[in-house]
């Protein structure tokens, strides 16, 4: 088995479908198997990482809190697309700490460096 780098790309807002949750579940498993895993947030995916959300108000188990566990799984590369933030009039106010905001080109270049890409 060869070592591979895995990118999990999130493109959906967090609550109305299970994509974000199922992407995070996959990321944590890859992390627990010690695979080099990075998380990317693009387009509406950036809504998953913004601060001041209140999932429990709409009866959703707040899986967003689980993002803070990523460090324990050695998932340290978390990238957000600046252009996606700007388009949505968002600032870099996130509910997790170690996020790197990259320009669209840098974001894409980083994504290209991974062997396998799963998009949710």
């Amino acid at each position: 088995m060869a070592d591979k780098t895995i990118a999990i790309v999130n493109t959906q807002a967090p609550f109305s479908n299970a994509d974000g949750k199922e992407a995070l579940d996959a990321a944590l498993i890859f992390g627990s198997y010690e695979q080099a895993t990075s998380l990317f947030f693009l387009a509406d995916g950036v809504f998953q990482v913004i601060g001041d959300q209140n999932a429990s108000a709409i009866e959703i188990k707040d899986y967003l809190k689980t993002f803070s566990a990523l460090t324990f799984y050695d998932i340290e590369n978390i990238y957000v697309c600046q252009q996606s933030l700007t388009e949505r009039n968002l600032t870099a106010n996130f509910h997790i700490d170690n996020i790197q905001v990259l320009t669209s080109k840098e974001f894409s270049q980083r994504l290209h460096q991974h062997n396998v890409i799963y998009r949710f």
Partner: protein, 98 residues
């Protein structure tokens, strides 16, 4: 690394096409599959090809003809699922936009 972008949705109704184009780098290729074939006449894709003539855009001819989609633009490369397998191995990685 060269990436194969697989588009499976119409850009007229979803952001799959715009997301793909925003992540496309010079050595990459695009593959239109399923409803992605409706992008054969999408202005954003045509503009991307005009701007970057070397961009390779493949489409599954069976999926396009089933949807009555065609193009006179010679930049589009007619393909089969057999060709898709070749593309998967001739590119370093792939991403599916839908």
């Amino acid at each position: 690394m060269a990436m194969l972008h697989i588009i499976r949705d119409s850009g007229f109704n979803s952001s799959a096409l715009t997301q793909c184009l925003s992540m496309n780098l010079p050595q990459d290729s695009i593959l239109l599959m399923d409803d992605g074939c409706y992008n054969l006449n999408h202005p954003l894709l045509l503009a991307a090809i005009a701007k970057q003539p070397a961009l390779k855009v493949y489409f599954i001819s069976l999926h396009a003809s089933a949807r009555a989609q065609k193009s006179n633009n010679t930049s589009f490369i007619s393909s089969t699922l057999d060709d898709v397998l070749e593309l998967l191995f001739s590119h370093d990685n792939s991403i599916t936009w839908s």
